[in-house]
Each structure stands twice: as structure tokens, then as C-alpha cells.
């Protein structure tokens, strides 16, 4: 099976700055893939290389088997990119913008699909409004719509929900999820890790131009061993026998970490023996954010060593 996206030994230098340092990545058709990492990790550079907006220093990238440099026309037809910056052409209305964008991809009669995108992105009552007159959120919707005019099998969204209200975020993800169900490959970058966790089946984490983690979302979360339990106690003292499990303590809450859930029984028994009453108890599931913090932190300490 041809990968939707295939990146091999990708390097990119901007003068003295190394943005990407040997990225290898394969994303399969139909995946919902997250590209995560702190600012400056190289996510946008990687996307720009896929889109042909930036030329790699070395290495290769393919979209559905088409090289983004030597086969750029085919590669770009198969790729839809929602850029991170809120850009627009102030000369045109929403519909004109979408008709023109279709034309760039060689599509003449695209009205029914344009109507559908406009409907799904809730742009119907703004369709004939000039781009200048739209709010930031509305402009963001048009950017998404522009990336979809040619029904690309691979869709890349670079921080599509940055600074976007809840309503649009939900509408946007509903639409993108439906596109994914229809077989489109989705690649997104976001700083909202809960979004990535809820939507994406696989995750790559980038740091300083390198892939530092690449696995299914579930495997990454499972890699966090143990579980945490948060307790409020009366009297507000933790028995000495439980002190080794304590990981944090604030505002009258104690967070204890155990290797397995079965150990919680032991914790409760110890509390009972000490005649401490449990006022509140909350199990804390490990999440992608925890994985992210751990991976970003651990590579840091490796580098320091």
C-alpha cells in the first residue's frame, strides 16, 4: 500500500539554524495523525516542505507516492493544506475565493461541492460577503474550505483551532471526522493535546527537528506506567506508611501514585487502619498531555547528560 505521506531522512537548515534533522515518517491512507511538539520543533517546516512552500535541504517527501519536488503537480493535487496564518485575499467574497481556488486546481464546475463545504462549515450566510468583512473565526473557516475545494485525499491542518471559539471547533472536527470516515487521511498539528488524544489514532512528537516519539495514541498513553489517585482526607494528614506513594500535595489534596489499580485497595486499607476518613477520591487517568510532558522532559535530561 502506498503511504499517504512518506518522509525520508528530511533535513532542513535555514542558514545556521537547523529546523529538521533527519525526519523519517510514514502515514498510511485513512489515518488521523497528530504531529505534536513545542513551538519551533519543526512541525510547520515539515508541513511546508510537503506543500512545496519550502524546499528541503536534503531528503525526500512523497504524497500518495508522488515526490513533492519532481512530481509536484500531482502531489499538490492530492494534498490540501490549511495554513497556520490567517491569510486571505481582500479583493474577493467567500464564494469567489472558493471558485478561484477550485480553478487553480483545474476544476471548472465545482459549485455543488463548494455549496457542500460552505454548508458544513456554516458559511452559508457569509458566502457573498467580502473576505475583509469577516471575523477571524470566519476567515479560519474559509481557509479550511479553500484547502478542501479539490477534495484532496490527504488533508493537513496546521493548528486549525488556534484562537477559535468552541462552536467552530466542534463544527470543524465534526466535518473533519466525517471526511476521515470517508477515507481522507488527516494530519494535524495542535497545542491542544486533548483534541489530539480524542481524534488521532497515531501521534508523532517532534522536538528540535527530530521525531522523539512515534506510536499509536493508545500505546503512548499506556507507556505511562501506574495510575494516580487524588484524595481529600479527614483528618487532613496522610499516614506515614503512605508517604512513599505521595507525588504531590496541594490545597488539602494528596496525589498518590500506584503501579497498578489493585494497589488502591491497599491504600484504602491503610487509611482505614489509621482511622482516616476519605472525603473525596478521584482516579487520575494518564493522558496524552502527561506523555507529552514526560517525553519532552526526558529528552531534555538526556541532552543535559
Amino acid at each position: 500500500m502506498t503511504p499517504a505521506i512518506e518522509v525520508k531522512q528530511m533535513h532542513k537548515r535555514f542558514g545556521a539554524v537547523t529546523a529538521l534533522e533527519g525526519i523519517d515518517l510514514e502515514i498510511n491512507p485513512g489515518e488521523f495523525f497528530a504531529l505534536l511538539g513545542p513551538n519551533g520543533a519543526g512541525k510547520t517546516t515539515l508541513i511546508h516542505i510537503l506543500a512545496g512552500l519550502t524546499l528541503a535541504s536534503s531528503g525526500s517527501a512523497k504524497v500518495m507516492g508522488h515526490d513533492v519536488v519532481t512530481g509536484y503537480r500531482e502531489a499538490r493535487r492530492l494534498l490540501g493544506v490549511v495554513p497556520q496564518e490567517l491569510v486571505f485575499d481582500p479583493f474577493f467574497t467567500v464564494r469567489e475565493t472558493l471558485v478561484i481556488q477550485s480553478g487553480y486546481y483545474g476544476l471548472k464546475k465545482n459549485d455543488s461541492w463548494i455549496d457542500e463545504i460552505i454548508h458544513h462549515l456554516d458559511l452559508a450566510d457569509k458566502a457573498n460577503t467580502n473576505m475583509r468583512a469577516l471575523s477571524g473565526g470566519m476567515k479560519r473557516r474559509v481557509l479550511v474550505a479553500q484547502a478542501l475545494v479539490h477534495k484532496p485525499p490527504v488533508i493537513v491542518l496546521d493548528e486549525p483551532t488556534a484562537g477559535v471559539d468552541v462552536e467552530l471547533r466542534q463544527a470543524l472536527w465534526r466535518f473533519i471526522k466525517q471526511l476521515n470516515r470517508d477515507g481522507h487521511t488527516i494530519v494535524l498539528t495542535t497545542h491542544y493535546l486533548d483534541e489530539a488524544e480524542a481524534l488521532c489514532n497515531r501521534v508523532a512528537m517532534l522536538k528540535q527537528g527530530k521525531v522523539v516519539a512515534l506510536d499509536s495514541t493508545q500505546n503512548l498513553i499506556n507507556s505511562i506506567s501506574g495510575a494516580s489517585v487524588r484524595l481529600r482526607l479527614s483528618p487532613n494528614t496522610l499516614p506515614a506508611v503512605l508517604q512513599p506513594l505521595l507525588t504531590s500535595q496541594a490545597d488539602g489534596y494528596y496525589v498518590l501514585t500506584v503501579k497498578e489499580y489493585s494497589e488502591i485497595e491497599g491504600v484504602l486499607a491503610a487509611l482505614r487502619r489509621a482511622q482516616v476518613q476519605v472525603l473525596e477520591m478521584q482516579l487520575l487517568q494518564p493522558d496524552l498531555e502527561e506523555v507529552f510532558v514526560k517525553i519532552m522532559g526526558s529528552t531534555e535530561s538526556q541532552e543535559a547528560a
Binding site: 535555514f14 506543500a51 512545496g52 512552500l53 519550502t54 524546499l55 509536484y72 503537480r73 500531482e74 499538490r76 493535487r77 494534498l79 493544506v81 495554513p83 496564518e85 491569510v87 486571505f88 485575499d89 481582500p90 479583493f91 474577493f92 469567489e96 478561484i100 481556488q101 477550485s102 480553478g103 487553480y104 486546481y105 483545474g106 476544476l107 471548472k108 479553500q146
Partner: protein, 251 residues
């Protein structure tokens, strides 16, 4: 073809939507030149025997308007798209660098011809301007506007900011047009300036264009044609190279 045609159409629409500024304003400016220069110089200057100065001036001003507006169109469109970032919509598309070149240059030709035609039509209401050979006039108008359209693409890509583009316009394009014989026949110049004028490609565009009107010119129209075509090919080659390698567009 649809991709090229769409970009061309978008570029036409871009200037047409603000035609007050992109067509009417330059037509008015050019007519003001005509009014003032003809008033001041009508009785003092005769470029060609039997041709009134104002009538001599008209084709020169028409061509100047054609050239300046052709340059303004591609250069301002590109710099605006680059500064605001919406150039990304063209760069993301499968449009080839040749299609991008053709679309920007042809839209520039269209704007140049529309403005030039506007100036010409207004002056026809007041003056008898002969038109000896429409093909020659049209040929030079087309070639000249295409050359300046391509130069505009270069300037629009090279300039990082609006003031750099203005510098290109004010220090290169404007002096070359003003010193090209729009307002005078170079035969009226001292020998040094006369021979210097022969190094200005704009001189051949104006001179060849004027030949179409009067059947008289400072140099042979065939020679002018050869020079202008050579310049056009050289500038086009450079423009295509810039677009192909993604100079300043694809970092």
C-alpha cells in the same frame, strides 16, 4: 489550462475591481501631462516636420501609460500577495511556474492596454492623431507591456517591502521612461545624450510605437523590434528562472 486561465482571470478581476485607482487615475495623470506639456511647449518644439508637438506627444504618453501600468500591475499584485501572505494560495496549487508567469504577464498586458486605450480615446476627442500602421503600434504596445509585466514580476518577487518596490519603480522604471523620448525626439538632444539614449531599451519601445502613428521614427522600427524582443526574451528567461527555483517565494 483551467489553472492558468483562473489565475489570469483573478489578476484581471483584481485590477478591474479597483479600476478607479488602476485605470481612471493613470488615465487622468497622463492627460494632465498632455495638458501641461502641450501648453508650455506647443509653440517652441517641433519634433517631426509637419507634426504638431501635442500630436507628437500623444503616442509617447500613451505608450508611457501602457508601460508604467503594465509594470504596476504585476509588481503591486505580487508584493501585496506576499506581504499579506495570500500568495500561499497560488503556491499551494499545482499551477506550474510557466502558468504563473503567463498569467501575471498577460494580466499586466491587459491593464497596460486598457489604460493606454483610455488615454488614446480621450485624446482623439480633441486632436487629430494619425494612425499609419495599427499592426506596428499594437505590436510594440503588446511587446512593451509584456516586457514591463515581466519586469514587474521580478520586482514584485525581489522586493521585500513596499518601499523597496517603490525604489525599483522610482529609480529604475521612471527615469528610463522619462528619458526614453516620450517628451522629445532624441534628434533634438546633444550627441552624447543622443548616443546614451540608444542604450535605453524604453527608447526603442516608444520609438517603435510612435512609428505606428506617424510612419516616421528616430531609428528603423525593425531594429527597435529586434531590441525589444531580445529584451523581452532575456527578462522572461530571468523571470522564469526565479519562478522555477522559487527564489524568495519557496524558501
Amino acid at each position: 489550462m483551467t489553472g492558468f486561465y483562473t489565475l489570469f482571470y483573478k489578476e484581471l478581476l483584481r485590477f478591474w475591481k479597483v479600476s478607479f485607482q488602476t485605470v481612471l487615475a493613470p488615465v487622468l495623470t497622463t492627460l494632465l501631462y498632455l495638458l501641461i506639456f502641450s501648453h508650455v511647449l506647443e509653440d517652441h518644439v517641433q519634433a517631426y516636420p509637419g507634426v504638431a508637438y501635442t500630436v507628437f506627444l500623444i503616442p509617447g504618453l500613451v505608450m508611457m501609460a501602457v508601460l508604467q501600468n503594465a509594470f504596476a500591475n504585476s509588481s503591486s499584485s505580487l508584493i501585496q500577495s506576499r506581504v499579506t501572505g495570500n500568495i500561499v494560495f497560488v503556491l499551494l496549487s499545482p499551477l506550474s511556474y510557466r502558468e504563473i508567469f503567463l498569467a501575471y504577464v498577460l494580466a499586466s498586458v491587459a491593464r497596460g492596454l486598457v489604460v493606454g486605450m483610455g488615454v488614446y480615446l480621450v485624446t482623439l476627442g480633441f486632436f487629430e492623431v494619425p494612425l499609419r500602421s495599427l499592426p506596428w503600434a499594437l505590436l510594440f504596445a503588446l511587446l512593451g507591456s509584456a516586457l514591463l509585466g515581466a519586469l514587474g514580476v521580478i520586482a514584485g518577487i525581489w522586493a521585500e517591502k513596499f518601499d523597496q518596490l517603490a525604489a525599483f519603480q522610482n529609480f529604475i522604471i521612471l527615469p528610463l521612461t522619462f528619458l526614453s523620448g516620450v517628451f522629445y525626439s532624441i534628434h533634438s538632444l546633444p550627441p552624447f545624450w543622443q548616443s546614451l539614449s540608444h542604450f535605453n531599451p524604453f527608447f526603442y519601445m516608444i520609438d517603435g510605437f510612435r512609428y505606428g502613428f506617424f510612419g516616421v521614427s528616430d531609428v528603423s522600427p525593425y531594429f527597435s523590434f529586434a531590441i525589444v524582443v531580445t529584451c523581452f526574451l532575456a527578462v522572461s528567461w530571468l523571470t522564469l528562472q526565479m519562478l522555477k527555483t522559487g527564489y524568495k517565494l519557496r524558501h
